[in-house]
């Protein structure tokens, strides 16, 4: 009976939340009775007969709050939807939100607090690689469970983390292949902010361009985080006249970069650019008019046309205001609670070891981005999409790749 019921729950979609609420509650209780707390929680997590505690750990303050707010909203939305459906194994999710304050040690401190004091069953959180790297030893030592939403540089695989964003090769290779073919591009100019993710991404991009595409990298440039003066860099680009600018500029610099590029006459009619760091969230700051015509390589765009996404966008806007936009990471963050729910239900237990073992192999069909599969290396198999930005701040998907398996330690690209 339980299997049937679980299936039933899986298929429930956000639009039917109201109607399902009562049903969820009723069967929810039956559920909890099926899974006595003593059995599903043998390691002393904060799981009672009616609730399960889950942590959310992002920056609500500081420079990263700009980016992480969307993830917090998506995770809360998913959790509310799951609760409205009766929770996980009949237990409502109780959120404990902590603020990482854009400060990496604080992430480690708060992760420790969530795991050791609150005994949360899992954590949705972290955004930057630096915060993940800081918190990771805590998760490994305390055997916690982290769902990490951001696309990132790879070179990592922890049994305590599920990576719901793309690792570098998933985001880079197919995009470069497409632009080389589509635009007949031979020369590339690589530019990124000066930290690990852009540097690793550019390393992979350079190898791919030089060894597989037969192209040439004519320049590689890293901008100090927060720098807003791009005059000299733009002049260097003008001198080199690359076919494609491949960009991974982040944060406040990103906005200045596009504004100044445009002002210097390098708009999309004169210059092809593929970026791996611009999502709908960034467009708010950059302004659609500065971005129109350029391409982004992401696994998700808000404009994607499928039922799951339409429901997701509608629910998100209903919950967080009609002006809310949804970027790639926000969508990946939304997957976290759903994957956790599925994993617990597959395992029939909240025990971290069992949940870890149960999730790989699971295919989440109702993901807004389209079906994704959790692989044994804790990353997701996804598709890559190229979106071309319009003035309204939305991207039109111009290319969708096939399924790409995650490969966090790519051979030949290190």
């Amino acid at each position: 009976m339980s299997t049937l019921n679980r299936r039933g729950f899986m298929k429930v979609s956000g639009a039917l939340v109201g109607a399902m609420m009562a049903a969820g509650l009723v069967t929810g209780h039956a559920f909890a009775a099926d899974y006595p707390t003593a059995k599903v929680n043998t390691t002393g997590l904060a799981v009672t007969d009616t609730t399960v505690k889950v942590g959310i750990l992002h920056s609500a303050t500081g420079t990263m709050a700009i980016s992480e707010t969307g993830s917090i909203q998506a995770e809360k939305l998913a959790i509310e939807q799951i609760n409205a459906m009766g929770g996980i194994l009949g237990r409502k999710i109780e959120v404990i939100q902590e603020d990482g304050a854009s400060d990496w040690p604080t992430f480690a401190e708060k992760a420790k607090k969530l795991l050791e004091k609150d005994k949360v069953a899992s954590v949705m959180g972290c955004w930057t690689s630096a915060s993940r790297k800081a918190a990771l030893p805590v998760f490994e030592k305390d055997n916690g469970l982290l769902f990490y939403p951001t696309f990132y540089e790879g070179l990592e695989q922890s049994k305590n983390v599920f990576y719901t964003g793309q690792e570098a090769t998933q985001q880079i290779l197919a995009g470069l292949d497409w632009i080389a073919k589509e635009k007949k591009a031979k020369t590339f100019y690589l530019i990124g902010s000066d930290y690990i993710w852009p540097r690793t991404s550019m390393k992979i991009a350079r190898k791919h361009i030089e060894q597989h595409l037969g192209g040439k990298v004519v320049g590689e440039e890293y901008i100090a985080l927060g720098d807003t003066q791009f005059g000299s860099v733009i002049n260097k680009i003008k001198l080199k006249k690359p076919d494609v600018i491949y960009a991974a500029v982040v944060g406040g610099s990103n906005v200045a970069w596009f504004k100044q590029l445009n002002a210097a006459g390098l708009n999309s009619s004169k210059q092809t650019m593929l970026t791996i760091s611009v999502t709908e969230d960034e467009v708010l700051g950059i302004g659609g008019e500065n971005l129109a015509g350029f391409y982004s390589a992401m696994k998700y765009f808000q404009s994607q046309d499928n039922d799951a996404n339409k429901k997701f966008v509608e629910a998100f806007k209903k919950r967080w205001g009609k002006d809310a936009v949804i970027g790639d990471v926000t969508q990946a963050a939304y997957l976290g609670p759903w994957l956790y729910k599925a994993a617990v239900e597959r395992a029939g237990s909240f025990d971290v070891d069992k949940v870890q073992a149960a999730l790989p192999g699971y295919e989440f069909k109702d993901a807004p981005e389209g079906p994704v599969t959790v692989e044994a290396n804790h990353h997701l198999t996804t598709k890559l999409r190229i979106g071309q930005w319009g003035k309204d701040g939305q991207a039109k998907v111009v290319y969708t790749s096939g399924y790409i398996k995650p490969d966090p330690f790519p051979k030949g690209y290190q």
Binding site: A60, T61, D103, E109, A130, A134, Y195, I196, Q414
Partner: protein, 427 residues
């Protein structure tokens, strides 16, 4: 004379009140906190106490020397990074890093296509060298900065702004040279020291106590410096620099010395931070942490060593509590704290405590009526007494510009200078 009386009479400890203050702090750090909170909170407190090293250094430098450095994060970071380099090398043995293209070097080097350990990393394979580096490199760096600036009489605001710029430069460099430094991620996942797992609960207790003892060492060292003639000179310099200079002292050497000492203390704090927290990142080197550390000191009372420790604990505890419950309010509170402390309580907690202690006659000390040095430049009485003693010894001191020597020469003319105004400085 019993031991108690001896201690109370000791100038080093600052009279009866000083002894009681130290005893209470010791009880809090070594007994109350370890018994009262669990290991998670205790580890946090241990982390805060590493900032207290910086705050204690700032009491010397700023509270007593009038030199406001906005770059103490530089030294905290250098100390922390030195320790982190040692631990990182130990964590990167060829077996655990066999997945890398070059096993045996730290992971971030491998990601940045380095194929061999850079030369300046080599000596950090040795713990004695690392400890030596923690103590000397930041001090040396401080010496260079201090020498360049104090010799040219750069002071006050300019010194603050330049130290701030140096902090910025260093943090950009660390972030930019990520193949050598780990970049913005810092050095993470540090596990063992000479095979001893620093992540276990027992290790955390041991490190906490070691940290506490070192902090007391720093406090005693500071008290020693402050109760020596050197301490008097510092106060005098803070209040009337020219007068001290005209008395024949080489003011810049004193400033350089105190800057180096404060840097060294910060570095020890940084090293202990790395050990207790398990990583080091550039976010401790930059401008923001450097200024935050000044506020720890200001809240505690910029002239009071013990106050600085309490200030550090209080602000950080507040930060943790508030950011857990009201993350939005935290910045308001922190900002408000800055403004309020500066405007209404320039002597911080220590100042408030003193006010009530004297008002209600707590810890009445026969020999000493406690009065702390004012923060503003109004210590007129202090000058009078000071310049008297100073001029008496000026002849002796002018010959030697060597700071260490002049400190050593501190003839214990306590009878002459133990005026109530100055005694308060030692609390």
């Amino acid at each position: 004379m019993t031991l108690w009386e001896k201690m109370c009479a000791s100038d080093l400890l600052g009279g009866k009140q000083g002894v009681i203050g130290l005893a209470v702090l010791a009880a809090v750090i070594f007994l109350v906190l370890p018994l009262g909170v669990d290991i998670f909170r205790l580890n946090l407190i241990g982390k805060y106490l590493t900032y207290a090293f910086v705050a204690v250094g700032l009491v010397l430098l700023w509270g007593h020397g009038g030199i406001l450095s906005l770059g103490q994060g530089i030294f905290f970071g250098l100390g922390g990074y030195a320790m982190a380099m040692f631990l990182k090398l130990e964590a990167s043995d060829p077996i655990t890093t066999k997945i890398q293209s070059t096993p045996g070097i730290p992971d971030f080097m491998d990601w940045n296509q380095l194929t061999a350990l850079p030369w300046f990393w080599e000596p950090f394979k040795s713990l004695p060298f690392t400890i030596f580096a923690v103590l000397t490199i930041p001090a040396l760096f401080a010496y260079i900065i201090g020498y360049a600036m104090f010799k040219r009489r750069v002071g006050g605001v300019y010194f603050s702004i330049i130290t701030q710029a140096v902090a910025l430069i260093l943090s950009i460099l660390i972030v930019g040279q990520q193949g050598y430094t780990g970049g913005v991620n810092g050095m993470t996942d540090l596990r063992t020291m000479l095979g001893w797992d620093i992540r276990t609960d027992s290790a955390k207790y041991i490190l906490y106590y070691a940290n506490g003892l070192l902090l007391f060492g720093a406090i005693f060292l500071s008290k020693y410096v402050m109760s020596s003639k050197f301490g008097m000179l510092l106060l005098a310099m803070r209040d009337k620099e020219e007068r001290v200079r005209f008395s024949g002292y080489d003011v810049s050497n004193f400033k350089i010395f105190i800057f180096c000492l404060a840097a060294m203390m910060s570095a020890v704090g940084g090293a202990m931070f790395t050990l207790q927290v398990g990583f080091m990142s550039p976010s401790f080197v930059g401008i923001v942490p450097s200024i935050e550390m000044v506020i720890f000191c200001a809240v505690g009372g910029r002239a009071s060593l013990i106050g600085a420790v309490y200030g550090t604990l209080l602000v950080n505890y507040g930060k943790t509590v508030f950011s857990e419950t009201y993350p939005e309010l935290w910045l308001f509170l922190m900002g408000g704290l800055f403004i309020a402390v500066v405007m209404f309580f320039p002597n911080g907690i220590a100042g408030i405590w003193d006010k009530y202690a004297t008002k209600y006659g707590w810890f009445k000390d026969k020999a000493v009526t406690a009065k702390k040095p004012e923060v503003s430049t109004t210590g007129v009485e202090t000058h009078a007494v000071l310049t008297e003693t100073l001029s008496a010894e000026a002849a002796a001191a002018t010959e030697s510009t060597d700071v260490a020597a002049s400190v050593k020469k501190t003839t214990r003319k306590k009878a002459a200078i133990s005026s109530p105004n100055i005694r308060g400085a030692e609390a």
